[in-house]
């Protein structure tokens, strides 16, 4: 059984030969520093891994590592618009994205953070004036169909396309700033909705344009929209249901019309409360299953939502276990997640979000070794 068959069986809620593994994707990779130390620890030659995501400073890992960890998925991005190029100001260690959002890395920090936002006033007039980049910029699809086709025809991996930006809620706050947007939610809901509408319209246009090119060659479309805090919703579930959920649905409807690929939603934190809504909004795969957050017990998640959702992630609690436990602790944790999530298929193993710079290499190796070892069907752990 090859990687693609394995992933597709898991996505069809059937048991393949072993639990598929995703390593090296937009939310399943590792920080360049962790990557460097991992290669060193394994005695592998240094490898200048391309930065996969500037913001998080994660890499597209060395092919030898992907092979060693039995990675079953390949992903790719659409190109940026033609008017934009990544330029880092070396003095302030900042850069600006296609929308005019500023990112800054603190001195000695490992990655960038949102530092300034273009929508300062928070008025409908400002929003109407504000120029979004062209979602149908021809550069976005230059060479893209060939790339996707090549991945489909010349690899045996499952093929995933990454999103061009964050989801409707998250991208709203990238543009507006988190505190202003959260305040708008109470004082100016009409504005929050107008902003969500424009962000969604851009994404609909983007996917319509891009899926015409790559739709037949892909198996998974990744989206992301963080809805959870550590202990529950960031903002009221009613507001999510009123403003964001219907727009998520419009995006997934379009994707489903244009491709047979499954829709993958990356949403961090405690999101148990939202899962019935997430299912209704057309999502088939949920990630990263942040087990350290409230109400994210994997046995209950599988019992209650395993029929409707594929779980993609869950691989060792990123805060306590990966960072601070010994490698034996990592293996025990992997066993538990496989025990809870793997039976019956519907599970793709991945780290819970990207592996951070200071995670010991021993633990990274233990994570994927355990996934292969205990992930053989029928599950016996």
């Amino acid at each position: 059984m090859n990687s693609r068959e394995r992933v597709l069986l898991a996505l069809a809620h059937k048991e393949p030969d072993r639990v598929p593994i995703d390593f090296g994707g937009l939310v399943t990779s590792l920080h360049h520093e962790a990557h460097r130390r991992l290669l060193e620890y394994l005695g592998m030659p240094p490898y200048r891994a391309p930065i996969l995501d500037m913001f998080q400073q994660i890499v597209d890992p060395a092919p030898a590592l992907k092979e060693m960890f039995h990675a079953d998925v390949f992903g790719f991005f659409a190109n940026p618009g033609s008017g934009w190029k990544l330029e880092v100001d070396p003095v302030t260690d900042t850069y600006v994205d296609e929308w005019g959002v500023l990112y800054q890395r603190p001195a000695g920090g490992y990655w960038y953070d949102l530092a300034d936002h273009p929508l300062k006033e928070g008025t409908i007039e400002e929003l109407e004036r504000f120029q979004f980049p062209n979602p149908r910029d021809p550069n976005r699809i230059r060479g893209l169909a060939d790339k996707a086709k090549d991945l489909l025809e010349n690899t045996d991996k499952a093929v995933m396309i990454y999103p061009p930006t964050a989801g409707v809620f998250e991208h709203s706050y990238w543009l507006r700033g988190i505190e202003p947007l959260l305040t708008d939610m109470v004082y100016n809901k009409k504005y929050v909705e107008a902003l969500a509408e424009r962000v969604m319209e851009w994404q609909l246009e983007f996917w319509d344009f891009v899926l015409d090119e790559v739709g037949p060659y892909i198996h998974i479309v990744q989206l992301g929209d963080d809805l959870g805090g550590q202990h529950g919703p960031i903002f009221s579930p009613d507001l999510y249901r009123e403003i964001y959920k219907p727009r998520h649905r419009r995006i997934t409807d379009l994707i489903h019309r244009k491709t047979e690929a499954k829709v993958f939603l990356h949403t961090c934190g405690s999101i148990y409360w939202a899962l019935p809504d997430i299912i209704e909004s057309g999502v088939e795969i949920i990630n990263p299953i942040q087990v350290s957050a409230k109400d994210m017990e994997t046995d209950r998640l599988k019992r209650e939502f395993g029929r409707d959702l594929v779980f993609w992630g869950g691989g060792a609690d990123a805060t306590e276990v990966m960072t601070f436990a010994m490698s034996e602790g990592v293996k025990e944790e992997v066993k538990k997640r496989i025990h809870d999530l793997a039976p019956g298929g519907g599970f793709v193993f991945a780290s819970i979000h990207n592996i951070q710079a200071e995670v010991p290499p021993e633990n990274i190796v233990a994570l994927y070794e355990a996934a292969s070892e205990y992930g053989q069907y029928p599950i016996r752990v």
Binding site: P106, T183, S292, A318, T319, E358
Partner: protein, 211 residues
């Protein structure tokens, strides 16, 4: 006037309403200290409780805290020295390498709303700055926040720096932030951990024995 309205308008996050009511109350001769301790502080206690019960979320808490701050802005300059009993002094900041401040801001405002005097050092605060501020201001509580697993170790560094400066026993250290746990707080030698802005105040009061 009905002073209870101040309490209600704070909970509703109505900053202009709070300002107007507070100014009216002052004009009618209600002592500023009484408005703070009788209405603003209890309102924020209620906001914290609703947040813990998940009746309020971050947006509601943010606007309530701002409404409270608007009221305090009017009243503080009018309060005579010694007229208002402070719950304690606090120094707070997000640790080095970490630019996340919404959680820290909420904690800071909840402490203000509970009658603490708060010095907020902002984000990306290094151990030396925490230590020098503790030395100068002699706070009861030092609050440190981190959102990243990679910046959490800065809490340990800061606590070690407090020890070296001979200040560790002079201040209670309270830590928080999404990736933190009680176990981690114990490990780095903090006095307390709180999972959210509502319970942080309660924890601080418990540490100071003013429950």
């Amino acid at each position: 006037m009905d002073l209870k309205q101040i309490h209600e308008r704070v909970i509703a996050g109505d900053a202009p309403g709070v300002k107007e009511l507070v100014e009216q109350a002052v004009a009618e001769g209600v002592p500023p200290a009484e408005i703070i301790s009788g209405y603003l502080i209890p309102a924020m206690t209620e906001v914290g409780a609703r947040f813990e019960r998940q009746e309020f979320y971050v947006p509601e808490m943010l606007i309530a805290a701002r409404a409270m701050q608007t009221g305090l802005g009017v009243l503080k300059p009018l309060v005579m020295e010694g007229e208002l009993e402070t719950a304690g002094r606090m120094v707070i900041g997000t640790v080095r390498g970490d630019l996340h401040d919404i959680g820290k801001n909420l904690v800071s405002m909840m402490f203000e709303g509970a009658g603490f005097e708060v010095t907020d050092l902002g984000v990306d605060v290094g151990p030396e700055r925490f230590v020098s501020t503790v030395g100068q201001e002699n706070p009861d509580i030092l609050g440190m926040s981190a959102l990243l697993t990679t910046t959490m170790p800065a809490m340990r560094n800061t606590i070690e720096a407090l020890v070296e400066a001979g200040l560790r026993d002079k201040v209670k250290v309270l830590v928080g932030g999404a990736p933190l746990t009680q176990a981690y707080a114990d490990q780095v030698g903090a006095d307390g951990y709180a999972p959210d802005a509502g319970s942080a105040v309660r924890k601080a009061k418990e540490l100071l024995g003013i429950v």
